[in-house]
């Protein structure tokens, strides 16, 4: 077992324990919220996955730029892994958001500023991953997807700000609840614990994806080598 494996399995055990503890806390210890009843519990997954999904796209940008400067495939693997995992969290953010919206707002989808930005972000991430699938040659794939990542992340930021302006200019059909702020201390702490658990999960998934990416490249190289013989 290499050091990397040890870190991987150690982190996996820690994440599993922490998630179990958080689930126990969320469902069995904490009381229902005064106005929203039991539905508020979805926020323990909704808010952390939003944070992780959104920041992930920005972090992927850093690694894409690192690839463009160094041409080291490791950075490309990390950027791809982070984008994929961010997409998972973005999806979780949107699904939990619609579930909560159905109960609290009465509609599944409200075209609220945050949900809309998340959808655009998701589409940009999907474009990035589609682009990767469409290119077979590893160098071209890394180069073009790094550029796509730069354009996508910059655009995500502009989208984020302008959708906020766009939606706030129009009368909003529903109140959007900003998290934090009015939360009780016990409830807020649990949210940060769950953020930590999901962050560990994200790191685990990214490590896994990186290893797969490296192996894929090795297999492709071997195949080309065999072909050349």
């Amino acid at each position: 077992m290499t050091t990397r494996d040890k870190i991987f399995y150690g982190l996996a055990a820690f994440t599993a324990a922490l998630l179990t503890r958080n689930l126990y806390q969320i469902f069995l210890v904490l009381p229902d919220e005064l106005n929203q009843g039991a539905a508020y519990r979805i926020f323990y997954f909704h808010v952390p996955s939003a944070m992780l999904g959104m920041t992930g796209i920005g972090i992927a940008l850093v690694f894409s730029l690192l690839y463009l400067f160094t041409k080291d495939f490791r950075w490309d693997s990390i950027a791809a892994g982070i984008t994929e995992v961010s997409m998972v969290f973005c999806t979780m953010f949107m699904i939990t958001g619609t579930l909560w919206g159905r109960i609290s707002w009465g509609v599944w989808w409200a075209w609220d500023a945050r949900l809309t930005s998340a959808l655009v972000l998701w589409l940009i991430g999907a474009g990035y991953l589609m682009l990767r699938r469409a290119i077979d040659e590893p160098t071209t794939r890394a180069r073009l997807s790094a550029v796509m990542s730069v354009f996508g992340s910059v655009n995500s930021y502009i989208v984020w700000k302008s959708i906020e302006w766009y939606r706030t200019q129009h009368p909003q059909p529903v109140l959007s609840m900003r998290s934090g702020g009015g939360m009780a201390p016990g409830m807020e702490a649990t949210m940060y614990w769950n953020l930590l658990a999901l962050l560990c999960l994200a790191v685990l998934l990214i490590m896994l994806r990186m290893r797969q990416e490296t192996m894929t490249r090795e297999v492709e190289a071997l195949r080309r080598y065999a072909h050349a013989l």
């Binding site: 655009v120 589409l123 474009g127 180069r143 354009f151 655009n155 502009i158």
Partner: protein
Amino acid sequence: MSIFLRQVWAIMSKDLRSEFRTKEAINASLAFSLVILLLFSFAFDTAAEEMKQLSGGLLWMVFAFAGTLVLNRSFIREVPNDCLDALLASPISGAALFLGKALGNFALLLAIEAACLPIFAVFYNVTLTREPGWLALVMVLATWALTVIGTMFSALTVNLRLRELMLPTLVYPMMIPALMAAIELTRVLVTGEPIGENMMWFRVLTAFDIIFTALAVTFVDTVLQG
């Protein structure tokens, strides 16, 4: 610098010349705009007063869909006979190549939009001449935004299989801030609301133009090499 500008001019005039000889993209794009304008008439009640509120959105949907027909082709048309390789081997920078192509597309798109505007005004009974100067500014800024994104992604996907399938998914989400600003500004201009409160959208458009022109010029060499 003057050499750079001459190179940009050479690429732009080459593109426009070959387009005007065949008129392939411009005809297809104009016809397609008409088709979309017709389809909208089934989707909405054209007599309703809300039509004015919707008009900005409709107009820019037409421009975005018809425009990408022109934009998508801008690098692909260089693939037959290995023209792209010749262009890359020629002593001009990627930035000059990109700007030349973008300016050529920009001129074509503006021409198509200018042809669509009166048709749109007639079909949907919308007054577009309330603030012609402001409207022209919106058109110029937003069309350049669409052009930069479209031309850049045309370069990015030029060597890809599945290119036609991928481009719309890649391009439209990238255009969202510019389209949003253009839609909002056009709506304001058509309904006659005061423009002063919406100056922010001009800033969004200008910032979008500057940021993505700079990014495209920086990265076009990376995209086209190899």
